[in-house]
């Protein structure tokens, strides 16, 4: 599997034994060379180990010597060479039958992957998804780092992307305000809940009466309930305010209500009155509107035109809400929402639920479809249909598509080298875990494919390979021997050849793109169509998406652009909205359509029939800027106040999008879907701009007008942010190696190089620079260690944490003669010389070593000679 440059990487050296069942005190070293030149060698993080016959078990992390590769090794082509011994170096040559097999070398190559920037936006939500209920907007609560005590729940979730995706750099960018749905000013709210009914009777101590019985059963048409008879419910839980009611039975009352008998409940808070919304877990709303969060995020994404990184826009959802899914992705929009659940699963200590959920949804955003794996459904009875299908399309190319319901991370492999939780410190896990591809393994070493519904999940080789491709690291599953299925026809996701950006251009005569969305109901042959946004200067990502729309397997519906005479100016195929977790009965779509000055209408055509159309407004709106002011408030904060004048001669309602270009070139959305003609913003939340400009776009549904401001006063900019990304412990022995690790991101400089991070100690002063700095000479005592990151403007950010060096415990150090002998062994191995000779030479005592013995021998010989002379003189006759 291709390796990612600068991604945390381990080398696990599997040591076997011949002639004994095992061998204690086995140790070793690992060397790295680039272009033949040694770049260093390291001792393992664990050991000495008990080496075992056959190499031991791969899932036992102490059956191998585990080397964490220093960051300097993690790019380009590198030769790794391991050397192992037991008890002492001399035994290799004096005791073992063969010393040649104590060496092993592999050539590896590290490939740069694009960084991923995660744009986090709290989703404005209410409990019950009702505008009058209490606010339940998630607070990101981004602490400085992941280190205990405390730590950031949001970062624990976001850092799941390191664990599951082939990434070396995940940047976190927070949108400045919670996102709201369209028409929020008119009382519309996001609703991510299960299907909804109402409590109409009394609460009855947790045995409420609700308006409808149909949501309680899977197939209401198959039941004609009798009043007063108790029935079992197919759907098991009710969510009412903050309470969760586990349904035991229900009965139909004479007044037509469903009387619930509970057998368990969770939660507390106020008790509901008649009229309170009730959500029935397991019952899907029709139509589902949970995609609205992603649709709103998509409006932020479509104008965002930083082109040198992958972007993921994440709507953060309060974890207490009764949401239909743990998360949801909308294909082609780089937008997902996730319930921010900061809890670990029960079966495996390493399984963090929120982290896996985000990584799963980000997998969808990268084009991955579901892996068929789970067959339990709501009633926990297998029915031969993958549960994943109910949440979105299955990836027919995946190896598990042919083996369902048998489901494994990978096929059984006698080598079994797969999966190691290299980022465990992000979750403060004391020990690493090896994830096995062996279907017979138990927790915590067992996992299922990330894109399935079984937990815990792990990135399987096929989808990991596809993700490598997505992040810019070439990966061919065929070359890796992964038994995937070639597609019969392009069908999106990983089956699709990615569009060539060079071909991503507008058709002749087009002046931009318009985003249209709607739905098609094939059963009733009806549809709906509305405008979402207009881009007169499409961003690279918009052009890429536009060109990718034409790769559709089977086109039965299309959207055409017509002029006044009814001539077709352009046609765009409509495919099933690639919505993971969406029922398939109606087709929701969002397409980018070429914009022509002479376009008069947009039509959805299916089998020659006009299912819906949208006429182009005769007149475009108009918008002009009033002066933009930058004034300090009583707290010293500068408020930027915007006013604009917009109008539409046709009287169409206008929505406005406000954008900011700190460099006068790259735009980002500050606010979207504004109905009013003014807005206010804190300048301290804006990235630096020497001559920043703003743009307002007024949109009437089919036409838009925009106005770009003159440059305003420079915005001083944002400092970088540093995140300390992992510590093995908070207390170390004196002389121990301490690896200080941090990452940094700057809103203006973006990903920051390691030398922008400097480290200092309250006891020892400056320590050095680097995103990873290993020190072994910290003084005994309590240190306040500080990582300082400095951006190109000289703005800094610091993060500090405490660490103790326990002076009463001394870290043993290797004998210099051992170090020099290993130096010699690696040098000889690299040059093809005889190792035994090199070792003997390195171990042969030098003149300096022999000098004390020579002096002693000289003294002894001298003394003996003197004694002999004295004896002879004494015995000589006078």
């Amino acid at each position: 599997m291709p390796l990612v440059a600068d991604r945390r990487t381990y080398a696990r050296v599997h040591v076997g034994v011949i002639g004994q069942p095992d061998q204690a005190n086995t140790y070793g070293a690992l060397e790295a060379r680039r272009n033949g030149q040694q770049i260093g060698w390291v001792w393992p993080e664990n050991g000495p180990i008990l080496a075992k016959l056959g190499g031991g078990s791969r899932v036992q992390t102490d059956d191998t010597l585990n080397f964490r590769l220093p960051q300097a090794w993690l790019d380009g082509e590198v030769t790794l060479r391991a050397f192992v011994y037991s008890y002492s170096l001399a035994t290799v040559f004096e005791k073992e039958a063969e010393w040649q097999n104590n060496l092993f070398a592999v050539d590896v190559a590290f490939h740069p992957a694009q960084p991923l920037t995660v744009h986090l936006a709290p989703a404005h939500l209410h409990r019950s998804f009702h505008p009058d209920d209490v606010d339940r907007t998630y607070d990101p609560d981004l602490d400085a780092d992941l280190l205990p005590p405390g730590g950031s729940a949001t970062l624990r979730i976001v850092h799941g992307l390191y664990r599951y995706h082939p990434l070396a750099q995940v940047n976190v960018d927070v949108l400045t305000a919670p996102i709201e749905p369209m028409d929020h000013d008119d009382g519309h709210e996001f609703n991510l809940g299960w299907c909804q009914t109402t409590m109409l009777g009394n609460w009855n101590g947790g045995n409420p009466e609700i308006a409808d019985w149909e949501p309680l059963v899977a197939d209401p048409a198959a039941l004609d309930p009798v009043v007063g008879t108790w029935y079992e419910a197919d759907n098991e839980w009710l969510a009412i305010l903050d309470r969760r009611i586990h349904i035991h039975h229900w009965q139909l009352t004479e007044t037509g209500l469903a009387d619930i008998s509970m057998d368990d409940h969770e939660g507390d808070g106020p008790m509901p009155l008649p009229g309170t919304p009730v959500f029935v877990q397991g019952c899907r709303p029709e139509p589902a509107v949970s995609q609205e969060v992603n649709q709103t995020l998509a409006l932020y994404r479509i104008f965002y035109d930083w082109d040198d990184e992958e972007d993921l826009f994440v709507g953060m959802v309060h974890p207490d809400l009764p949401t239909l899914f743990g998360g949801q992705s909308s294909g082609g929009t780089d937008s997902v929402w996730v319930r921010m659940t900061d809890t670990f699963g029960t079966t495996s200590a390493w399984w963090h639920i929120g982290a896996e959920t985000l990584a799963h949804e980000a997998g969808h955003a990268a084009g991955l479809k579901h892996v068929p794996c789970k067959d339990g459904d709501a009633d926990h009875e297998p029915d031969g249909v993958p549960d994943e299908l109910a949440g979105g399309a299955i990836d027919p190319s995946h190896p598990n598509a042919l083996t369902f319901p048998v489901c494994n991370l990978a096929g059984p492999d006698p080598e079994g080298f797969y999966g190691f939780d290299v980022y465990r410190l992000r979750w403060n896990l004391p020990e690493p875990t090896a994830i096995s591809n062996d279907p017979g393994q138990a927790a915590p070493n067992k996992a299922w494919p990330l894109m399935s519904y079984r937990n815990p999940g792990w990135a399987d080789p096929y989808h990991y390979c596809r993700l490598l491709d997505f992040y810019g690291v070439p990966c061919d599953p065929t070359e890796l021997g992964i038994p995937w299925s070639e597609p019969d026809a392009p069908a999106g996701g990983p089956l699709t050849q990615p569009p060539d950006p060079d071909d991503a251009e507008l058709p002749p005569g087009a002046e931009g793109l318009i985003g249209l969305r709607g739905s098609i109901d094939p059963a009733t042959e009806t549809g709906s169509l509305e405008g979402a946004f207009l881009l007169d200067t499409p961003t690279p990502s918009a052009l890429k998406k536009f060109s990718g729309q034409y790769i559709v397997a089977e086109v039965t519906h299309k959207l055409v652009v017509l002029d006044a005479a009814g001539n077709e100016l352009a046609s765009v195929p409509i495919q099933q909205h690639d919505t993971a977790h969406e029922e398939l009965e109606s087709i929701d779509f969002e397409v980018l359509v070429p914009l022509f000055a002479n376009a008069r209408s947009y039509q959805i055509i299916s089998a020659g029939r006009d299912l819906a159309h949208l006429d182009v407004s005769p007149t475009a709106p108009a918008v002009t800027w009033d002066p933009i002011t930058q004034e300090a408030d009583t707290f010293g904060r500068v408020k930027v106040q915007f006013h604009w004048d917009s109008s539409d001669a046709d009287g169409d309602p206008l929505t406005h999008t406000l954008l900011y270009a700190p460099d006068g070139e790259h735009w980002q959305v500050l606010a979207s879907q504004l109905n009013e003609s003014d807005f206010e913003f804190l300048q301290q939340a804006l990235p630096r701009g020497e001559a920043p400009i703003f743009q307002v776009i007024a949109f009437d549904g089919t036409r838009a007008a925009s106005a770009v401001s003159a440059p305003v006063k420079p915005v001083p900019g944002l400092p970088p942010s540093a995140i300390v990304s992992g510590m093995k412990a908070t207390t170390y022995p004196s002389g121990a190696e301490v690896a200080l690790q941090a990452t940094a991101f700057d809103p203006e400089d973006r990903t920051m190089p390691g030398d922008a991070i400097s480290w200092s100690s309250s006891l020892d002063g400056e320590l050095g620079t680097g995103s990873e700095l290993v020190v072994d000479d910290l003084s005994a005592g309590f240190h306040l260690l500080t990582a300082t990151v400095t951006d190109s403007d000289g703005l800094t950010d610091t993060t500090s944490f405490e660490l103790e060096i326990d002076g009463s415990v001394i870290q043993p150090r290797p004998d210099p003669s051992v170090v020099s002998a290993i130096d010699a062994i690696f040098a000889a191995a690299a040059s093809g010389e005889d190792l035994a000779t090199a070792y003997e030479a390195a171990s042969a005592p030098s003149l300096g070593d022999l000098l004390p013995w020579l002096v002693l021998a000289f003294v002894l010989v001298g003394a003996a000679a003197g004694g002999a002379l004295w004896w002879r003189a004494k015995r000589r006759p006078a």
């Binding site: 599997h14 009058d132 981004l142 780092d145 950031s152 106020p270 400092p719």
Partner: protein, 202 residues
Amino acid sequence: MARVGRAWARWAATLVAAALVMLAFPAPTAAGAVFTLLPSSGFAGSTVVAHGEGFPRNQPISVRWDGSLVASGNSGPLRPTKFDVPFVVPSGAALGSHTVIMCVTGSGATGCSGPPETAIFTVVIPAVTPTPTLPPPPTPIPGSSATAAPTFPFPTFPIGAETPTPGPLPIAVVTPAPTPPNQLGEIPEDFPDLWIKAIEVT
């Protein structure tokens, strides 16, 4: 129901009093930092959230009760910073006003690296406040009549302070020092042949 009404009157009065105290003691500074206590009165042993805004980013934060450290946290990377540090009112705290400070942790006499922000917490006698909790559920026997519970207006309830999700516990363990790779014990007579099966790079 009358009993419930009186209880609610006390509850409402407590809320109003708490709101007034909170309004009375926000602590803005010239630098724009704000430190508030939620609530700003309560009994000894109760949990209070120290809420800070506008402090320098990514700094260790200390909360001190009458000078004694009661909690620590971090101001986080967001600008402006906004964070909560929960702490427990010392069990022996006397009734009346107490000074609580929040500051960036430092090595000075006050334990702060700069001027602290101050708020006042009033320790009161524990009040019997009606917590609207679910009564014991009736035995869910189909057909039995359930006991009616008091109901409360929807949706006029304020949401209570949510319990912060605790982070992972700190590891305060001295990293075990591995045996130095010089001479690993007494060499046995029967010595096998070691071999490297593979190097797994992951």
